[in-house]
């Protein structure tokens, strides 16, 4: 364990500096431009990855279906807004509730599943929701999708703004919230219980851990946060459709990847992963999309395979190997 005097001063200073930069950043760029949109989405995806981290990192259940909760949140708040003029802020709570409840329900039949089976079940669930959303046109608008009703003046109550700055801070706040929750969970009883039941379920039970209850609780928290992110996303983006909001590749896999690449089961992994992956995707999209549909995604898939082949344990382990070699 490396701890020395320099470290004790370095850490808070770095955090302070980072916080200042993060708060100033949106004001240094055009408030409706490309850059601020990227930053905003960065914090959104980091939040999503953090919510995935609760189940994927602590309990080591690889979910490939988190888009289910994302989409549920999105549809809940938008439909409530459209039909009942419910404020998106309340819709945020509603979206979290629906997603959380669904998470609890889904965790029951998947309780004893591990590894590949669990991934499979979650993937199937999100796909089913996608197909239901596509076919239940009377409720969801079908494949055409839904739009959040646009209001010219915007305003806080409607969570719509002329400038890009408020949403930057909203997403930042969401990231802080989800990271805070993750940290709390990992440091408290439930965190220990999750790690225990990941390591040895029988032994965990033998010392009094209610494995079922713990898993359900973790699922609810993870799903709720993801649902909340869904609400924020559609308010930010205005338009969504079943194929994009429940997307296996663009949401479920991406979010899991961000967390894994940055460092699964670590507090800052999601942010690191987002900072790495999202700009990389942007670069791909801008350079390769012009060459044809599908090329940037292809590159994405190829890089994913390459990384796994080089270091199956992910980027953090890869960086670990590299820094060891460099003697850091």
């Amino acid at each position: 364990m490396k701890s020395n005097n320099l470290n004790t001063y370095a850490k808070p200073s770095v955090i302070l500096l980072a916080s200042v930069l993060v708060c100033l950043a949106p004001f240094c760029v055009s408030d409706q431009g490309y850059a601020i949109r990227v930053f905003t989405l960065l914090f959104l995806f980091a939040s999503m990855a953090q919510s995935w981290n609760i189940v994927g990192g602590l309990a080591n259940q690889i979910s490939l279906g988190h888009a289910a909760f994302f989409g549920l949140g999105a549809y809940t708040s938008t439909l409530l807004l459209i039909h009942f003029a419910l404020s998106p802020w309340l819709g945020f709570l509603a979206g979290m509730s629906v997603a959380g409840l669904t998470g609890a329900l889904l965790s029951l039949p998947t309780m004893r599943l591990r590894g590949h089976y669990f991934a499979l079940a979650t993937l199937a669930f999100a796909e089913v929701l996608r197909s239901i959303a596509n076919t239940w046109s009377s409720l969801t608008g079908g494949p055409v999708g839904l739009s959040v009703p646009f209001s010219a003046e915007g305003g806080l109550a409607l969570m719509q703004f002329k400038s890009g700055v408020p949403f930057y801070f909203i997403m930042l706040a969401m990231f802080i919230l989800s990271t805070f929750i993750y940290k709390q969970i990992s440091q408290r009883k439930i965190g220990y219980e999750l790690r225990a039941l990941k390591a040895n379920p029988a032994s965990a039970q033998a010392i009094g851990i209610n494995v079922t209850k713990t898993k359900i609780l973790a699922s609810i928290i993870s799903a709720s946060l993801m649902g909340g992110c869904g609400v924020l996303f559609v308010q930010f983006n205005f338009f969504f459709d079943p194929d994009s909001i429940f997307s296996l590749v663009s949401i479920s896999i991406r979010v899991a990847l961000i967390c894994i690449i940055g460092g699964i089961g670590t507090v800052w992994g999601p942010l690191i992963g987002a900072c790495f992956l999202l700009p990389l995707e942007e670069v791909f999209n801008s350079t390769l999309s012009a060459k044809g549909a599908g090329i940037s995604q292809l590159a994405y898939g190829l890089i994913l395979i390459a990384i796994i082949l080089v270091e199956p344990r992910g980027l953090q382990a890869l960086f670990g190997r590299i820094s060891k070699k460099l003697g850091i």
Partner: protein, 287 residues
Amino acid sequence: MALIQAILDGLMLGGVYSVISIGLTLVFGVISIVNFAQAQFLMIGMYVAYYAWAVFGIDPIFGALLSFAVAFVIGYLTQQFLISKVLKAPEVAQIFLTVGLLIVLDNLALILFGSEFKSVQTPYQNESIEFGGLIVSAPYAISFCASVVAGLGVWWLLARTWWGRTVRATSQDRMAAQLIGVNPEKIYRITFALGVALTAFGGGIILPYLTASPSVGEQFGVLMFTVVVLGGLGNVMGAVIGGLAVGVIQSVSSLFLPIQLQNLTLFCVFILTLALKPEGLIGRRTG
């Protein structure tokens, strides 16, 4: 009567589902990984058969044989150079390797073939056979027959060949198999190759009544996984029965339920089986 018709249609479709899914279950039973990209090989099979028809005029049922061959080669190489590298790695790596493959294949298809739907015209596609008040559409019937032939072929392979016996031994007891000198990697290569080739073959034989597109993988993915889970992951006979069951469930539920709920029905079957009887309804010991 409509019910019987639906059951009949379901069985016809189900036969094909069986063939498509045998490969997936075989891979899991022997190699112990879920190939998340399996449905993409269905798509490959469809495209190969499509171009065999479009360029050379070969009927898709025979084109499917070409699909089989092409997929076999791709599968063999995939196992050799990709999958084998992660068999000892954490599950996360295994899952994401085949997920990455899924992404690569889907987008390669998009780039190479474009996103338009491609369909074939066969001389028999509008014909049907009638008996006892029931109608059997010719494409369905022909695909079903092709599936039966394929199924018998697989049975023969598993029951009568050296490879088949070794595969069965390996899937039952890996360590014992190694102790008697079986080289698992060779078995894995042939198994994976055969597994994806079967699915590709299935893609070829459904071309007469379905269209090829890069998104075909998505359509069939969940379905294949449902079949395999119902029958028990690793259980080939289970995949056959599971396929027929899923075909019938799909077909019958379309009589009673609005389309939104049909998929939900399938999913409920899937999830309930996973939850209550993970070893499948046929219930064999896991590999």
